[in-house]
């Protein structure tokens, strides 16, 4: 794994000449093995592959390989001349995005230009001579701050975490009120094909912590038995098995394996304690039936029926049902039983939003569009209907937090708060037309 360079680039489109070029926003040369002008080949290759429709996240020119990711309108490119481990390079580039996002809220051209001093500082600490060094943004934030240009002479102490044994938490943290917020969030991914059968469905769950605790607390999380059996893959006692269970590095895995307790010293602030995936047949929580009738040269008629297939006591909030319409449609007319529908022409969508959607209810939306009499010759894809929602106080898998014990040597009382949310992940229903 040796990156020679990390580039952050911006694509510049000259609308007049219909050619694109690029501008290097930031470039950091780590090793000096590769000439900087190599980056020009990157864009040539990118354009060429894009035209041929054969884009690939690895590109090679001579013995220089470009591994790139795209974040909004920026390209982050790592160059290497070694046959290195690709997933590691991509993970590192995404780590860069993550760190920058935590620093600047949003990673985009403006934020880089406004903070280029910090960007340079970060690039310097994240990687040296092509090898990743300190990448934990919590630790980085202790000695690289955006207030750097406030000119503080005192700001030259080495943070303890740089040399600490517990690398994810520094010592001497103080809070007036000691609290932990536990969020159990499950995202539902569903793909339903055009004739209404569920092609694939799974649950991606995560337990997130917001820790506001003083000192070096020792935490123990208790989950309900059913979940624990599923976690450890005890086939005899459960019907669900979890795949792909991941714990934050702070969890003592040996303890978990021996007596199934999840014990750890939490990182300060927000963190993801664990994540899991359950690959099971979930009944789609919001079921959509749609009829899209297209009468060429005259009109499109859309009828969408949404049904809440979850408990009557629960309510889905902020439901958004996005229905695709042809790009040349105009003069929209809507009729909805609840909520309101809006036409978003730049995305070729009708967005039907419903503030609260009780379980077991059936709602209806009709839309009518006119089509121009001149036929549109461009072929269009058939985008699926996508649904967004959030159901609080409810998890599909039935995971429950039984207890959270907090022990710190100063013996303070701390309060754990638990919240459950089920939300839509990649929730797609394909349409006929």
């Amino acid at each position: 794994m040796i990156n020679d360079y990390i580039f952050i680039l911006k694509a510049v489109c000259h609308t007049l000449t219909q050619t694109s070029s690029h501008q290097v926003l930031i470039c950091r040369n780590y090793k000096g093995d590769v000439d900087m002008s190599e980056i020009d080949h990157f864009f040539t290759l990118l354009m060429q592959q894009e035209e041929e429709g054969l884009l690939c996240p690895v590109m090679s020119h001579g013995n220089v390989h470009f591994l790139w990711i795209k974040h909004s309108n920026l390209y982050l490119v790592a160059t290497t001349n070694k046959n290195s481990n690709a997933s590691l390079v991509y993970s590192f580039l995404y780590k860069l995005v993550e760190v920058f996002t935590e620093y600047f809220k949003e990673l985009e051209e403006e934020s880089i230009q406004d903070n280029f001093v910090v960007v340079y500082e970060l690039l310097d600490e994240l990687m040296d001579f092509g090898f990743p060094q300190t990448t934990d943004s919590k630790i980085l934030q202790e000695y690289i701050t955006q207030q750097g240009n406030k000119l503080e002479v005192a700001k030259t102490k080495v943070p303890t975490t740089v040399t600490n044994a517990v690398s994810w938490r520094s010592e001497g943290i103080r809070y007036k009120k000691n609290e932990v917020f536990i969020d159990v969030i499950e995202s539902i991914n569903v793909l339903v094909n055009a004739n209404g059968s569920v092609m694939s469905s799974d649950i991606v769950g995560s337990i997130k912590l917001k820790t506001m605790l003083s000192g070096m607390p020792e935490l123990r999380l208790g989950l309900n038995d059913r979940m624990l059996f599923a976690l450890t893959g005890d086939k005899g006692k459960t019907t669900v098995t979890m795949e792909d269970v991941k714990f934050h590095q702070c969890v003592r895995l040996s303890r978990f394996e021996s007596d199934r307790t999840i014990s750890f010293i939490p990182p300060d602030g927000e963190s993801e304690l664990m994540s899991y995936r359950i690959n099971t047949h979930v009944k789609p929580l919001i079921w959509i039936e749609s009829v899209i009738e297209k009468f060429s040269h005259s009109r499109v008629e859309i009828m969408v029926k949404a049904k809440g297939q979850f408990k009557k006591q629960s309510v889905a909030n902020n439901v958004e049902i996005r229905v695709p319409v042809p790009s040349d449609a105009d003069s929209p007319k809507f009729k909805t039983s609840t909520g309101h529908a809006k036409y978003v022409p730049e995305k070729n969508l009708v967005v039907w939003s419903i503030k609260s959607f009780p379980g077991g209810k059936e709602l209806l939306m009709r839309a009518h569009f006119c089509l121009p009499s001149v036929e549109n010759h461009e072929t269009e894809g058939r985008p699926p209907i996508t649904v967004k929602f959030e159901i609080p106080y409810f998890t599909v898998s039935g995971i429950q937090v039984r207890y959270m014990k907090i022990i710190e040597k100063s013996g303070y009382q701390a309060l754990p708060w638990v919240r459950y949310i089920t939300q839509s992940g990649d929730y797609q229903l394909r349409t006929n037309t």
Binding site: S91, V117, N193, D244, V245
Partner: protein, 721 residues
């Protein structure tokens, strides 16, 4: 843009930086320095300010220091004489009480890429290696590597190397990994860092303290270590076990690679490791980042080469999402084709069918080709779908379907009748040259079964003047000659016109020559022409082989988790780890042995078999082995012979095609028993051998191994009973 009037800008900046009033006001001073760096980032040459910037490095403000250092590193190689002035400041900073400042100064000093730096940085680096702050040690360790890269051809400094080896025991995990990285760079010419038993076990025990990047790299370094005994091997494997399920995709994959490498003598352990990593691998295939997803898919493809069944039940995970980029969709389709079995074929085909009408023509064509691949096993269902697609009357779809038909007929002759019927009924013809060629080939090859063939071909011959592609013209010539051989009455006239045009009026020399060739051939008589033009086709007995064979893991594990599988080509396997240890040492006299090498596809084998001359034919003293095909195949692989195909069970004549490699030569062989035409083959096996390039020395060797094979075969069959 700053390029205009850059001199003005530099002048103004210099004036500001040297203004004592500005220097007195720290905030203003620093703002000017920031401005310099900003111009530098925008590509403006501000190297003229070097002197003023060096002065600015004498400050207590750490951010200002960083900026000035960055500036100096950028321009040091352009202004080596001025950079020397900065070194004193930097050396002073290397002795600062604050470890942050020490580390910073040392790192930047090492980043000055200019000749003659070594003498200035050596002493601070050595001091840094023993610094009490781990932050400085981290920097100093990599500094050693940087120092070496400044003077790549000098003698390696033994004391530094020893010091680095000693620092492998450092309490700070990043220092440990940096040591490995630095040693690897410094000792590059000697094969990289040496991993002996104590180091290997030390690293294994430190694994859990390392961050994920370091874990990945250590796992790669460990590829170089060979355990002394099986006990040690299993100890190592159990230490590594937890990392197979690491939450970081790159660690999990790196662990799997190490597992496969270490357990190369224990296939069951390898299979178990693959089974257990299948879940994390699948998870990567659904990762939020599409590049990681892509890498995951490439890894799955490699694993499937040995364990095709591993992901069978998870085929739905490889259905494409609407918004996924096409490089992911292409890979997913390739995987879906491999995963098809009796249970899921209907759903997979339905899914692929929906991709055939995708907006992107490349994707649609790939989906059609994928259905064509499945058609080799499930012809009927696929043919229905493909025929249905022709009804859409979209040019790119029609063309892709016709091309798929062509390949299908070649690989799967039993579907010929159905294809011909469809092609005959199809009214529109493809518009692009690829599609035209495919249609012409079908007409020529199977003109006897397509009633409308001569009329379609006549259309092409009439439109010859407007045809631009010479490839289409060549195909047209061949097809017309073939058609003439089976339907002379209908074709004679248009063939004459075609030949006349191609010889007299055509401007492309290749087409002209081809036409002349056919003309002269036809002059020699129809029978003579038939012999040449309708030569041997694909051997129908080969059709048993459509199912892909399981390859041994050793075929691909050396490229696993590198760029190779992602880029879709074989990059030079120069991964740090394998280059040193796995290179077999060649003795002075070249040793000849057989090796498996990369597998041959059926198409290439067939082509080579038809092209090459039989070098040697021999009747062996024993009848054909009666073992089950997979036993036979396994036994042959033990002696490094790959099996391409067998005729099933007790068919007469019994045939098998095998191949192997030795240094540069590829050896192909056919085993035959019970063929009426080959004398002596009714009782014992007849072997025909072909080689490319010919190497007579290897011939004897081959038979030596062949005798071996007979023995090994006997033992393996005995073991089974």
């Amino acid at each position: 843009m700053p390029y205009l009037g850059s001199e003005e800008v530099v002048k103004e900046l210099r004036r500001a930086l040297s203004n004592p009033n500005v220097q007195a006001d720290r905030l203003r001073y620093k703002n000017y320095i920031t401005k310099v760096i900003r111009y530098m980032t925008q590509g403006l040459d501000v190297s003229a300010l070097f002197m003023d910037m060096v002065k600015a490095s004498a400050t207590v403000d750490i951010v200002q220091k960083k900026l000035v250092y960055l500036y100096m590193c950028t321009y040091a190689s352009d202004k080596p004489d001025l950079a020397l002035l900065a070194i004193n400041t930097l050396r002073k900073d290397c002795a600062d009480p604050n470890p942050m400042v020490r580390g910073l100064a040392l790192r930047n000093m090492c980043n000055f890429r200019m000749p003659g730096m070594t003498e200035y940085i050596e002493q601070p680096i050595v001091a840094g290696l023993r610094d009490k702050a781990s932050y400085v040690r981290r920097v100093a360790v990599l500094g050693c590597a940087k120092m070496h890269s400044l003077q790549p051809n000098t003698e390696i400094d033994g004391t530094i190397v020893n010091e680095l080896y000693a620092l492998l025991r450092d309490p700070d995990p990043v220092v440990v990994v940096n040591c490995l990285r630095a040693l690897e760079e410094i000792l590059k010419d000697e094969g990289g860092v040496v991993i002996n038993k104590p180091i290997a076990h030390h690293l294994l025990n430190r694994m859990k303290d390392l961050d994920s990047w370091a874990q990945s790299e250590v796992l790669t370094f460990l590829l170089r270590y060979r355990p002394r005994s099986d006990d040690e091997l299993f100890d190592i494997l159990s230490l590594l076990d937890a990392f197979l399920l690491s939450s970081h995709a790159h660690v999990a994959v790196a662990t799997l690679r190490l597992f496969l490498h270490l357990a190369s003598a224990h296939p069951t352990v390898q299979a178990d490791a693959l089974l257990r990593t299948s879940a994390p691998l699948l998870a990567t295939c659904g990762a939020a980042s599409r590049e990681l997803r892509f890498a995951g898919l490439c890894h799955v493809q490699q694993v499937m080469r040995s364990q095709p069944g591993l992901f069978g039940t998870h085929y739905k995970r490889f259905f494409c999402g609407y918004s996924e980029p096409s490089y992911i969709k292409f890979r997913k389709m390739e995987i879906l084709v491999e995963l098809v079995n009796d249970e899921n074929v209907a759903l997979v085909l339905e899914e692929l069918r929906s991709y055939c009408t995708d907006v992107s023509p490349e994707l649609a064509q790939a989906a059609i080709a994928a259905i064509g691949r499945i058609a080799r096993t499930y012809s009927e269902k696929c043919l229905d779908i493909l025929t249905g697609l022709l009804g859409l009357k979209q040019d790119h779809i029609t063309s892709a379907v016709i091309q798929t038909f062509r390949d299908l007929v070649w690989f799967c002759p039993q579907s010929t009748a159905a294809v011909c019927q469809t092609v005959g009924a199809c009214v529109d013809s493809p518009q692009d040259s690829e599609g035209k060629q495919a249609l012409l080939w079908l007409l020529g090859e199977h003109g006897d079964q397509i009633s409308s063939a001569p009329y379609v071909m006549e259309g092409y011959i009439d439109g010859l003047k407007t045809e631009l592609s010479s490839a289409v013209k060549m195909e047209l010539l061949t097809a017309a000659v073939k058609m003439f051989l089976c339907r002379p009455a209908e074709t004679q006239d248009m063939l004459g016109r075609l030949l006349h045009y191609c010889i007299e009026e055509e401007s492309d020399v290749c087409v002209r020559d081809r036409a002349l060739l056919y003309y002269r051939l036809l002059q020699r008589g129809v029978e003579e022409t038939r012999k040449v033009v309708t030569g041997p086709k694909s051997d129908p007995s080969m059709s048993v082989l459509t199912g892909r064979q399981e390859e041994p893991i050793s075929e691909w594990d050396s490229t696993f988790n590198t760029l190779g599988p992602l880029a879709g080509c074989d990059l030079c396997p120069q991964t740090a780890a394998t280059s040193a240890a796995d290179q077999p040492s060649y003795d002075a006299e070249e040793e000849i042995s057989l090796s498996l090498g990369p597998p041959l596809s059926h198409e290439t084998f067939e082509k080579m078999w038809l092209d090459l001359e039989t070098l040697h034919r021999q009747t062996l003293g024993f009848p054909r082995p009666r073992a089950a095909p997979d036993t036979l195949q396994a036994a042959l692989q033990l002696v490094k012979i790959q099996t391409l195909a067998f005729t099933p069970g007790d068919t007469v004549p019994w045939k098998a095609y095998i191949y192997t490699r030795s240094t540069e030569t590829l050896i192909l062989a056919e085993l035959l028993q019970g063929d009426q035409q080959a004398p002596g083959s009714d009782e014992s096996l007849v072997v025909s051998v072909k080689q490319q390039p010919v190497n007579h020395m290897l011939l004897n060797l081959f038979f030596f191994f062949f005798a071996l094979y007979d023995i090994s075969l006997l033992t393996s069959t005995c073991m089974l009973q």
